[in-house]
Amino acid sequence: MSAPLLRVENLGVHFGPATDPVKAVDGISFAMQPGETLAVVGESGSGKSVTALALTRLLATPPARIVSGQIEFEGRDTLRLPDRELRSLRGSQIAYIFQEPASSLNPVFTIGYQIREAIELHRPEVADVTGEIIRALDTVGIREPAKRLDDYPHQLSGGMQQRVMIAMALACQPKLLVADEPTTALDVTIQKQIMDLLKALKGTNHMAILLITHNFGLVADFADRVAVMFRGRIVETGPTAEVLRNPQHAYTQALIECVPKLGQKQHRLKVIDYAGIE
């Protein structure tokens, strides 16, 4: 097997006093190959977002504390990189899209400016930045991109804002895209559009995608492998088809059973019984 793009080893992130910490991430390990799509699934509070943010030390370290682990991206440990090297990683090698596109874009700058910022920072060799921006907007399916350059974020719909975020993330051709619940705040129909977009981009850009979600439904059609997180630990991991067909861990089973199935007579939706797990 070729060298993994990303290798997380025994990551631990705690909150609160050291005497009685909340162990948001409690010693997890996983790896990603270049171009692979890994979905991390779990409910709210399972630690998946914290994991995603920890990859490039985006966590606010007064409340949070990274207490253990290594995060090796292309062989370099991001947790121990000096600031300047970390910053050159961010945006150009590892890019993010977040859950709330409306608040994730700076309201006082145009979207064109915000994308330009990323390009000028990481790809100073590009001569025609405007053209590049227009191309990026076009790739994510925004119509009349040239006109959109001077729009402010609040002038766009939720779906378009998320597309702008994706365009901004992709503008520097990163090797890994971390998508933290990218569709949770969007309507169902828009959700599908965004996921389709990501799927298409996955192919053209040879990009690895780390998808954080609580929605098992999104995973099936999208991810190569899936890791299930529960209370800060990864309880099961494997190829998507495998895990869906044959869930080993009680929690995974419960999660899958929660998804209502068409055609099945169900009087009540299944609810997870936590007492029976772990």
Binding site: R87, G91, S92, Y96, F98, S103, S104, N106, E117, H154
Partner: protein, 329 residues
Amino acid sequence: MTTYLIRRLLLLVPTLIGITLLTFLLIRLAPGNAALLKGGGGENGGRAMTAEQRETVIKLYDLDKPAHVAYALWIWKVFHGNLGDSFVDHRPVTQKISERLPLTISLTGTSLILSYLVAIPLGVVAAIKRGQTVDRTISFVVFVLYSIPSFAAALLLILFVAGGDYLNLLPMYGKNSINASEMSDGAWLLDRIRHMILPVICLTYASLASISRYARVSMLEVLGQDFIRTARAKGLAERVVILRHALRNALIPIITIFTLELPVLISGAIILEEIFSLPGMGQLVFQSLESRDIPVIMGCTTLAAVITLLSYLLADILYVAVDPRITYE
């Protein structure tokens, strides 16, 4: 934008009427008081209004006519810049005001700019280093400053730094030394600056304190927003994140506050001008109050009110201009 402006200006009209009405009511209050007619009490020696003064007041404000007529006449006068003549030296009120305005504006203007220039960085630093010693120290010092009344500070500063038994670094009063006219331009400027240092300090420290707290709160609020995380995720240096992304947002409310403080340019320095014997608007108001110089008092009050109203308009316009999220509704 123009429709917004027009609508906003129209809204001004009832308020303008209200202001003039209120001022007019104050005028009617004035000569009706027996104390004034007799000569007033208290240590401030109200002078009795002479019959001549009474006549002047009655004529100036048309007190012998029915109220609505008097009001209309007064509005007419004000509109034409006729605020009457001072009782004290019979010069037009407008002239007395325009003589004194420049000094006051130089005092309060310097103070205003200074306070913002210092307070904003202070607030930003406190926000960035939230919870640490720097933040706590700044917050505490600012808090104490905020609670010191300006006249107490002025007295203490005069006591310790100017004149008196202790240090004698700065002059105690006035805007220039007595021999100012004999100085060269450079020396004159230096002399003027030396005279203004203490008043400016006294005027600045309190608003500096409150602005820096605003700045801190505003900055903290902005720093907690998602787009700051996006900016960092893009790989921008922390300095850029703070100065470009965060500050631009945090300044929006500060700018509005700034415009709302503009009226202070005229009327904010009454006490300090009195203490430091600076011949500005504040001292004019104070002396006129003591000598019951009604035309001057009313003229200054009207002016202050109108300027304040205009600055509210300015604040609204600026707010719309500065924040792209606000549309002209």
